[in-house]
Amino acid sequence: MKALFYYLIFPGFLFSAVAGLLSSWVERKVTARIQWRVGPPWYQNFLDLIKLSGKETIIPKQARATFLLAPYLGLFSLVLAATILGLALFTPQQSFTGDLIVVVYLLVIPAICAIIGASSSRNPLASVGAAREMKLVLGYELPFVLSIATVIVKTHGGIRLGDILAFQMNFNSLFFSFSGALAFIAALLCCQAKLGLAPFEVAEAEQEIMAGTVIEYSGSALAAFKLTKAILLYTMPVLLILFFLGKDISPIFSLAKYIIILVVFILIKNTNPRLRIDQAVRFFWGPVTAIAGLALILALLGL
């Protein structure tokens, strides 16, 4: 019963959906201000979702059964990850051993679901999008796992989110050590790619392959994808706060850190052109992996 409450209301589905939709409003608004526009009102993303749920959901004739399954599966697993992370942030004692690894796995599932959904729609542009998404996942997972390994090494083998937080509360945020700062930079870039924001929005390049992976989706299935994206935008900063900036997690400080990380994401998005997929993969396997590997070595040396 309690678990259901956690999952559905707080800090699970309802809370993370509202937080995510508000964050994506912040994203749209800041983007608009950077481009010297006014931007949409704060309830715009809610309206978009309500509208999409009222529209017809078209299923292409040749689509497979996984076409409609994929968006909801992605949403389901992402909400689970958001619940675990939220519980760890709001009530650190509640976390269980190994939840770090569970979260890392759960966070890959939305990307996999996007790939499955796109390839079961049998649209050629969607399959281009799926192929790009797959390469991108291969690209960013390596440095992401390396930087998380840095966190584990720094906290003397903490694979419980609660332990990681407790370590940072007792000593200092991991961000304020050499290895922590380097791992933070690598993880931030990986999160940018996980969010599918420019410069890594190759899988959904609106101008080239017309929304790529979601091209065939309409109505409530599209709404599920949009909601997944929004919740991801809430989950990623929370993840970074937990891993690297966990010294003081009182509500005010958490909110401030959250907004700063969110705005950094948005600024990176707005000041960079889209990379080609080969450039993106080279970027992640080259410099970013080097940074994350260096961070891991420094952490093993105790810096």
């Binding site: 931007g39 715009q44 309500i50 929304a211």
Partner: protein, 141 residues
């Protein structure tokens, strides 16, 4: 009017179909999204896939090649979906009226909900047209 219609009126996603226009109308449509007019204030967005569209913005004189494709695009759009004819060409075939290759005006082919005349129509005219359409759906004059 239920909540979903209300939400629809405040978040119109537009798919742009060019059926052989001279490109001026298309440029004016893009102007609507620039900082000066900024249609995103009202939730209006240009989308890349017709499956996401709430409105089809059709420009250009229909020629024999583009008519069947346009019909296909209309069939692919999720309903409810409005059709907006932009520019004199789409309205009445304009100066291409006697061309060997141009068939019928748009409203003989698809159910058009909104006509925006002009060659090309100014962004203000398009915004005005959309406001009129929204007001009409809301039921006030």
């Amino acid at each position: 009017m239920d909540l979903k219609t209300k939400a629809l009126l405040k978040s119109i996603w537009v798919f742009h179909v060019s059926c052989g226009s001279c490109n001026n109308c298309d440029i004016e449509i893009l102007d609507c999204l620039t900082p000066r007019f900024d249609l995103e204030r009202f939730g209006i967005q240009l989308v890349g896939s017709v499956r996401h569209a709430d409105a089809l913005l059709i420009t250009g004189a229909m020629n024999r090649k583009s008519v069947p494709r346009m019909k296909k695009i209309y069939a692919q759009a999720p309903k409810p979906c409005v059709v907006i004819a932009v520019g004199q060409c789409a309205l009445s075939r304009h100066m291409f009226r006697y061309s060997y290759n141009v068939c019928e005006p748009l409203d003989k082919i698809l159910p058009v909900d909104l006509y925006i005349p002009g060659c090309p129509p100014r962004p203000e005219a398009m915004i005005d047209g959309i406001v009129k359409l929204v007001n009409k759906v809301r039921g006030n004059k």
